[in-house]
């Protein structure tokens, strides 16, 4: 009897371990409706390219689905406690896992990591991930498995270089002759990078399809469960949703930003399910603190001239109060968004609760504030004071959801006596940084504008830092600034300076919340929706853990066929 039990037990074990054998799940089809055009994330920062490359090349550490850092190619996460980060916060020392090999069988060493730094920071390279290496002075290989990164300034959060899917390690031997201006000529390298990840490229067709097979030298002998992957691109979000949820031709579809009822209808076909995850993306209205009047010529939308009426905090407050964020969310996002009153709504530890009152629309209150501030309704219902009319130009990019939002918000603002002119611009122009175009979001030749932004990783410091005084886009810097609202405040900058010197996490959280609250309570930015990423996978695909902090395909080695 006992023997029988042992046999049956070993059979069960065999069955489950057989299930997890490399290649045992066969083939998986992934659909990205924007097709990747290159597999080198250092030459293209587009999400589609970086995520496709994440199957092949990997960073030292990455973020899991709850935003925690996990060691990936590294032994552990260096901290000040374990001595990996120096006390002056200027160096970080990474230890690589032992025995790692590239997919071609050669050893993965610290030289490859050093080379990755050299590749991206080459002065003629135009590296798309340059910001990851900001303030890095040197990257040295201490021994074969140890790397020391030195920063020019104290970095309380030294996890920029080699962490996250935008900064993976490339092989030195392969890319050695591709530095600087030679980078674009290396088509074979850029299309078929050698990596340490679970898959290797067998065929790459730019903007069309990528074929992968399991990496024979992957560090976990049982993974990946899939032997081959087809990574197809092209079409649009609704066609991608249809292919997974309705026809079942594909197993995974990325970025399904569709109307809530469309997604609902598709998932009713029963072939797959919609999954969503919330990162730090927030759809917000930015308020221009400077005068965008065309009469000012060169000085238009610069700090030389404060905005004639948006400088009045009462007006900004009334604009925010008049918006019903719940209705906006219902119409535009459904389950894939949440109304929010914060500019940093995630990770949860950084989310402030001080502003939650904004979730309730209060038109009467908004009217009262404007009345008290001396803005009187004229004969056409538009408020004025000292000959100035509350008449706004409200711009955003062309996108069905954004135009719905514009129409609704215009309606609410008209109820508080604010006249709104709407404008939408093609995304490639609006988000393009062409200094010759008057229509970019950086130039901000409008009174308010709406778009989504986020920060990389889980630490918001650099995000707050971008709204520092002096970083405004202006003619002097070729409109390359990042402080879009042109808000300048000494107390804000003082808090920022303190944050830059603080290593203690609880104090960092406190300061971050204070910075967030200042932007919100001054009504410089009017947050609307906390946006999630939405994908879909077929019912037979197991192991998918959607991650808003890293590549969506971060754990593809663990995917399997049910």
């Amino acid at each position: 009897m006992k023997k029988l039990f042992v046999i049956s037990l070993s059979l069960i074990v065999m069955a489950t371990s057989g299930f997890a054998m490399r290649g045992s799940s066969g083939h998986v089809n992934i659909l990205y409706w924007q097709a990747p055009s290159i597999l080198n994330p250092y030459l293209s920062g587009g999400t589609k390219e970086v995520e496709a490359a994440s199957l092949i090349i990997e960073p030292l550490a990455r973020y899991d689905d709850s935003g925690n850092m996990v060691p990936w190619l590294a032994e552990s996460i260096p901290t000040t406690e374990n001595g990996g980060v120096s006390d002056d916060l200027k160096t970080i020392t990474w230890k690589i896992k032992e025995g790692l090999v590239w997919s071609d069988g050669s050893a993965f060493t610290s030289e490859d990591v050093v080379f990755t730094y050299e590749y991206c920071t080459h002065p003629e390279g135009g590296c798309a991930q340059g910001q990851k290496f900001e303030d890095v002075v040197s990257v040295e290989a201490i021994d074969d498995l140890t790397i020391k990164v030195t920063f020019g300034v104290a970095k309380p959060f030294p996890y920029g270089p080699f962490v996250g899917f935008q900064s993976p390690i490339i092989q030195k031997v392969q890319f050695e002759n591709c530095l600087g201006t030679a980078a674009p000529g290396c088509t074979d390298q850029n299309f078929m990078p050698i990596g340490t990840g679970p898959f290797v490229v067998t065929e790459f067709r730019p903007n069309d399809v990528i074929s992968f097979e399991a990496n024979a030298n992957y560090r976990d002998p049982d993974k990946p469960a899939f032997a081959t992957v087809t990574f197809k691109g092209g079409g649009d979000a609704s066609a991608a949703g249809r292919a997974v949820l309705e026809t079942g031709e594909f197993d995974y579809a990325w970025n399904l930003q569709l109307a809530p009822q469309v997604l609902q209808q598709m998932s009713e076909a029963g072939k797959g399910q919609v999954v969503s995850a919330f990162g730090p993306s927030v759809e917000r209205i930015m308020v221009n603190m400077t005068d965008p009047s065309p009469d000012l010529g060169e000085e238009r939308s610069t700090r030389a001239h404060p905005h004639p009426f948006l400088s009045d905090i009462n007006v900004r407050k009334a604009l925010s109060l008049a918006i019903d964020r719940n209705i906006l969310n219902e119409i535009g996002y459904g389950l894939t968004g949440k109304p929010t009153c914060n500019i940093v709504p995630a990770p949860a530890i950084y989310a402030s609760t001080a502003n939650d009152g904004c979730l309730v629309q209060d038109i009467d209150m908004a009217n009262q504030i404007l009345d008290e501030a001396g803005w009187v309704r004229g004969s056409d219902g538009v408020r004025e004071k000292d000959g100035m009319r509350l008449s706004l130009l409200y711009q955003t990019s062309t996108n069905a959801v954004r135009q719905d939002f514009q129409a609704l918000i215009k309606q609410w603002w008209s109820q508080i006596g604010v006249e709104t002119e709407l404008r939408n611009l093609d995304a490639s122009v609006f988000f393009g940084g062409d200094p010759g175009s008057p229509d970019t979001f950086q130039k901000f030749f409008a009174d308010v504008e709406m778009y989504t932004n986020r920060f990389d990783g889980t630490d918001p410091e650099s995000y707050f830092n971008s709204w520092k005084c002096g970083r405004e886009p202006s003619p002097e810097n070729g409109w390359l600034g990042v402080n879009i609202t042109r808000y300048c405040d000494d107390t804000y900058d003082a808090k920022l300076a303190e944050l830059a010197k603080t290593g203690d996490l609880s104090r960092r959280i406190e300061l971050s919340k204070a910075l967030n609250d200042q932007q919100i309570q001054e009504y410089i930015m009017i947050p609307l929706i906390h946006r999630g990423s939405v994908s879909a996978h077929s019912n037979s695909l197991g192991g998918v853990v959607l991650n808003a902090w890293d590549s969506e395909l971060w754990n593809i080695a663990d995917w399997y066929r049910k």
């Binding site: 290159i38 390279g125 730019p206 903007n207 691109g233 249809r242 986020r454 409109w479």
Partner: protein, 335 residues
């Protein structure tokens, strides 16, 4: 005739040069930015470096001359190298796409098969369907067949392919599950089984486009047949006692084909241009999809090269149509 051909060919050279200049100017003046599709988390200084690395810092005329050199000297030399195996091109810079940082012509060659298969086949199918419909519709003018033919071509003409395409997908992929809604460009035909798979994935995009093409050509055919059916030579042929078949299919058809052949010839370049919308709907990823993604990403070298190739084809097939016209109709001679 020979002189005429030579003259027209020579005239095409300055025409094409001006087309390339106009294209370049248009693309240069059009708003847009190759870094616009990157996430906002990438700071503006980095974007500026990317732009400079792409060569956008150079003045306009330098970039244009560079493109001319790359397209007219380096690319043909590279092709020679590929064909003969002798190294003619050395390390001459080819036209490089900004998105993929790889030679544009390689991607074009990669995209040609699916475009020729799907769009080319739909053109052939459209023509095969259209000619008999046009002939019968004209011969039996105002009959029920003519009425139905007119109705179908109205439908084909006026309903956009993004509607018919999605409609077919909903019926045949979602509800019936007969055909795939996504075209597999990596599929290789090796035996009967794989041929059937290929036909299955081609059938919907081909039919959508064929309906549109057939609608156009059948109308031309019908109009041209009607013109000829009332001519004196038709009455003469009948008076001579020729059978109706011979009258219709030899005398009338041959004369009616003259304008139709020209229309068909002029339409051929659109095959190479791909079908932007239909390719997107069925994820065929041919030349049309290549062009539209390049436009969205502001990949100027790619857009410039593709549109210029289309321009060359259009000029070429217009020339061909003119010459064909002369050959088919001896009354027309260009001297």
């Amino acid at each position: 005739m020979f002189n005429y051909t030579i003259r027209r060919t020579l005239l095409a050279i300055p025409t094409l040069f001006f087309i390339s200049l106009a294209l370049f100017l248009l693309l240069d003046l059009a708003p847009g930015d190759p870094t616009a599709q990157l996430p906002l988390t990438i700071p503006p200084e980095v974007r500026e470096k990317i732009r400079l690395a792409l060569g956008l810092g150079e003045p306009f005329h330098i970039r244009f001359l560079l493109w001319l050199e790359q397209f007219f000297i380096n690319e043909p030399l590279h092709l020679l190298t590929e064909l003969t195996g002798v190294d003619f091109s050395g390390d001459r810079q080819r036209v490089i796409s900004w998105q993929s940082r790889s030679p544009v012509m390689d991607i074009v060659v990669q995209r040609l098969p699916q475009t020729l298969w799907v769009v080319g086949m739909s053109y052939v199918m459209g023509t095969i369907i259209a000619l008999p419909i046009g002939i019968i519709s004209a011969y039996r003018q105002y009959s029920w067949f003519d009425q139905i033919g007119t109705f179908v071509s109205m439908v084909g003409f006026s309903i956009p392919t993004f509607f018919t395409g999605v409609l077919l997908i909903v019926i045949f992929s979602v509800h019936l599950g007969w055909f795939p809604s996504i075209y597999d460009t990596t599929h290789v035909v090796t035996d009967w089984g794989s041929l059937i798979v290929q036909i299955k994935q081609m059938i919907m995009p081909t039919m959508v486009l064929a309906l549109y093409n057939a609608a156009q050509i059948s109308r031309f055919m019908r109009a041209s047949m009607l013109d000829n059916l009332n001519q004196d030579y038709v009455r003469t042929a009948r008076a001579k006692g020729l059978r109706e078949n011979v009258v219709l299919l030899v005398h009338v058809l041959r004369n009616s084909m003259i304008p139709v052949v020209t229309v068909i010839a002029i339409g051929v370049p659109t095959v190479f241009g791909g079908a932007i919308i239909t390719e997107q709907v069925f994820k065929v990823n041919g030349l049309g999809q290549l062009l539209i993604t390049a436009i969205q990403a502001n990949d100027i070298p790619m857009v410039q090269t593709l549109t210029f190739i289309f321009a060359v084809l259009i000029v070429l097939f217009n020339l061909l149509a003119d010459i064909l016209y002369g050959i088919l109709d001896p009354r027309i001679r260009y001297e």
